[in-house]
């Protein structure tokens, strides 16, 4: 069986996030940055500009007319959405590969990432609208650790599944017991290596164990509930299925009840239907 040290070494080999994505994520956290500064960064990357315009014109936003410039896009969809489009453009290729260990065919992990981004955003919109952008980004990134763990989980898969079923534990707890390392830990380390903001690192690290979060709790909780909703709705679900724990204390602390989550499911379904543009990013 592979050692934790070996897994951590592989994490270090994940290629860096493109500079443009990182710069934009950081700019979004700085209140003094003007929307035109963001347009300035994006417009120097023609391939990203094309992707952003294509996404703006997709059914996701249902805009009344065709958007032809980044300035217009900024006006219609806003800063958060623009930055998320850029991030989605950078992440989609990383996520697109087959994810053998988690039983996800090519494209399914990306489908789950987009689904969870939409779910997390819907939770944020109900709880605290100012978190909607961060929650979307956290949802996109939450399972990034699976790209590292996939082949090793595949090798140990039958043992892992047996352990989860026999002991009634979550898939994450199974990873921890069998491999000594989880996809959430791997994801948080990748995010740290990419120098992503602490808010996103926390959300990735604790998206299955929100009780352990010590900072940016609301964003972590949005990503956690977003993932619960996403797997419940069957969006990009792999071998790990619904083997994740629901903690009612988290919904309560956000002032939500289970019926609120059912109401959100309706909005999520509509949003996801419109998300083909995000799903089809080459």
């Amino acid at each position: 069986m592979i050692s934790v040290e070996e897994l951590k070494r592989i994490v270090q080999e994940i290629p860096p996030l493109p500079d443009i994505a990182l710069r934009l994520i950081k700019m979004c956290q700085d209140a003094s940055v003007a929307p035109r500064d963001i347009v300035e960064v994006i417009k120097h990357d023609p391939s990203i500009t094309v992707k952003v315009l294509r996404l703006c014109n997709s059914t996701f936003y249902g805009l009344p007319r065709r958007i032809t410039s980044l300035q217009e896009a900024m006006v219609y969809v806003g800063t958060d959405a623009l930055v998320n489009f850029v991030l989605a453009g950078c992440l989609s290729t990383i996520y697109q590969k087959e994810n053998r260990g988690y039983g996800l065919e090519e494209g399914q992990l990306w489908r789950h990432a987009v689904g969870c981004a939409i779910c997390s955003q819907q939770v944020a919109l109900k709880v605290d609208e100012s978190l909607a952008g961060a929650a979307f980004t956290a949802g996109l990134l939450h399972d990034i650790g699976k790209i590292v763990m996939s082949s090793f989980v595949a090798d140990e898969f039958l043992m892992l599944l047996d352990l989860v079923e026999r002991e009634g534990i979550s898939f994450l707890e199974g990873e921890s017991r069998l491999l000594g390392y989880t996809h959430a830990e791997a994801g948080a380390e990748i995010a740290e290596n990419w120098s992503l903001p602490e808010e996103l690192v926390e959300a990735i690290r604790y998206h299955h164990e929100p009780q352990k979060a010590e900072s940016f709790k609301k964003t972590v909780y949005c990503a956690y509930l977003g993932n619960i909703l996403c797997v419940s709705l069957g969006i990009g679900v792999g071998h790990d299925g619904l083997a994740t724990r629901f903690d009612p204390a988290i919904t309560e602390s956000l002032g939500l009840d289970p019926d609120n989550l059912l109401e959100m499911a309706v909005a999520i379904h509509d949003q996801f239907k419109k998300a083909e543009g995000l799903l089809a990013i080459p």
């Binding site: 419940s232 969006i235 679900v237 299925g241 083997a243 994740t244 009612p248 989550l261």
Partner: protein
């Protein structure tokens, strides 16, 4: 064999041995398969939520999203295509739940109970089912012989 896809919050009907109906990604949602072996009429519904009261406006726009609006429509449609009530074979799959000891967010269970309640009230029997657990499922109904297969993770296929 022509395969017809039943999307999430969707319902499809087919007639004749050349068809099969398939729905993917059943997490806590429920797939309802109905089949009349004589007329070879088959129908499948993939609903997401138990009651239309969660969002009545949405239920009017898409009744297939909810058990209490989708199931009656499924039956009405198969009858329209020539199925007979006394011959209908009803099978269910899905209704998985995340691990929740508090039983607070039991959407899969609520979805399942909504179907059970409707069938009980209408004196209809469920022939077989594969419901609950923590696995996502794919459901397929073959109209040639009414065989219903459920695909589980790791490629396991069960006939119900």
């Amino acid at each position: 064999m022509q395969s017809i896809l039943v999307d999430i919050a969707d319902m499809k009907i087919a007639v004749g041995e050349d068809f099969e109906l398939t729905t993917y990604a059943l997490g806590s949602c429920i797939g309802v398969s109905v089949y009349d072996p004589v007329s070879q009429v088959g129908g499948m519904l993939h609903y997401m939520l138990p009651e239309a009261s969660i969002n009545p406006e949405k239920a009017r726009a898409n009744p297939y999203m909810f058990a209490d609006t989708g199931i009656p429509l499924l039956f009405r449609e198969v009858y329209k295509h020539g199925a007979a009530r006394n011959r209908l074979i009803i099978k269910l799959a899905g209704g998985a739940n995340v691990m929740d000891q508090s039983n607070h967010f039991n959407i899969g269970k609520r979805n399942y109970l909504a179907a059970r309640k409707l069938f009980y009230r209408n004196n209809l029997l469920i022939a077989s089912e594969l419901v609950g657990g923590i696995s996502g499922k794919t459901m397929r109904l073959r109209l040639k012989d009414g065989r219903v297969e459920i695909k589980l993770p790791a490629g396991e296929v069960r006939t119900i």
